[in-house]
Subunit: 229 residues, 2 copies
């Protein structure tokens, strides 16, 4: 229980991760990935804290001690899930944003990308959203950094939009409201009742873009001269 925080060094028998090796994806990696899928299901169902390694052992068919051949602790397990999920969604977003220039369309793309991935990987996204601040120290810092990056992208999209339209509103409240709308989905979404990602992205995009689209509200309120944010 006392490590100098190299995350997961070569403490395990042999090479870990897709480093230098004969194959790009080793048997080890494939097996680990499979376990991570089961772990995602278990954490989704019971929550990280209430889920036990024995639950995962039962679900995955791997013996309790056998699991520890693939990772060093339950906490690293959560970290691996969150890291993979979050980096995937950010990478996808970056790639798709390269092909769109219009500020409005870029925001709509952000929403669409988020919801598409959210609904296609609902369990992983709940584990990411719900177990937000359970990781500590190194693990927690790394996930927090990705989160900040993702938030920053959205903030920039919004600021460009504001600038292009000469609007004034609190970007922080707007961005966080948007995240709230989108991330809350895991508490209510039912594929039998609710629309798919494209339709949902359109609806939420409408609400959000229209919501921030015009000037300040009808009633005379505080005057905010120039400084935004």
């Amino acid at each position: 229980m006392a490590s100098p925080i190299p995350i997961h060094a070569q403490l395990s028998p042999r090479r870990r991760g897709p480093a230098s090796g004969p194959r790009l994806e080793t048997r080890f990696d494939r097996r680990l990935a499979r376990i991570l899928v089961y772990a995602t299901h278990v954490f989704y169902d019971k929550g990280y804290a209430a889920a036990s390694m024995r639950d995962l052992s039962r679900a995955s068919g791997v013996s309790l001690s056998g699991l520890y051949y693939y990772f060093e602790s339950k906490e690293e397990l959560l970290y691996l899930i969150q890291k993979h999920t979050f980096t995937t969604i950010v990478d996808r977003l970056r790639r798709r944003l390269e092909e769109v220039a219009d500020p409005v369309e870029r925001i709509r793309l952000f929403i669409l990308n988020h919801l598409e991935y959210f609904l296609a990987n609902q369990k992983a996204m709940k584990v990411l959203s719900h177990e937000d601040d359970v990781l500590k120290n190194g693990f927690g810092a790394e996930i927090a950094a990705i989160k900040r990056e993702y938030y920053q992208i959205c903030m920039e999209l919004l600021d460009h939009y504001k600038q292009a339209r000469g609007l004034e509103f609190s970007s922080r409240t707007a961005v966080l409201s948007l995240f709230g709308m989108m991330n809350w989905i895991y508490t209510w979404y039912n594929p039998r009742v609710d629309a798919d990602a494209v339709e949902l992205a359109r609806e939420m995009g409408d609400i959000f873009l229209r919501g921030i689209g015009a000037g300040s509200a009808k009633a005379p309120q505080k005057k905010k001269p120039a400084t935004s944010n």
Copy 2:
């Protein structure tokens, strides 16, 4: 019909709750209420599953076994917190809604009531929002019923507004988006940085009402329509 749901009968030494008695608020009730406050803090910090009765014992200064004089299980503890929090917010809302008739103002009042209570009781509201589906059977059913009631009120407010303005949009998506905006707050709100409840309610009210205010957005938009304001 499952069970008559007596929740917690008179299994405890003597009378429980503010039933018939010499005083309206017994010493027992006051002491229990104090423990519930500590429990709220503990659940807020560590999450329900990860928080232990020993944590609560330490925080409250009551011995581990002494706690069980006031409730029968950890689960009932969470139930008591959630029940009190939820019924209070609904009761307050009902009372305030009686004094407002205008459909728009009623929606704004709903948002304000929610945010005021949310920020004034942030820890309890996180425990309510975050530990959403951990209560089982009788306890879970009772909280779920209040939740449905609260949701229903919001839905009716929105439907009246739709009818009054002749609008068309998915009430379900709209209501759940609004809840998402509001409930997500517990993940980011910082009283040193963010505005107070009144201001926040105005901002979110603007986004939401404007967002649903115009006609349905079926037409693909390239340019912003020339609506003034």
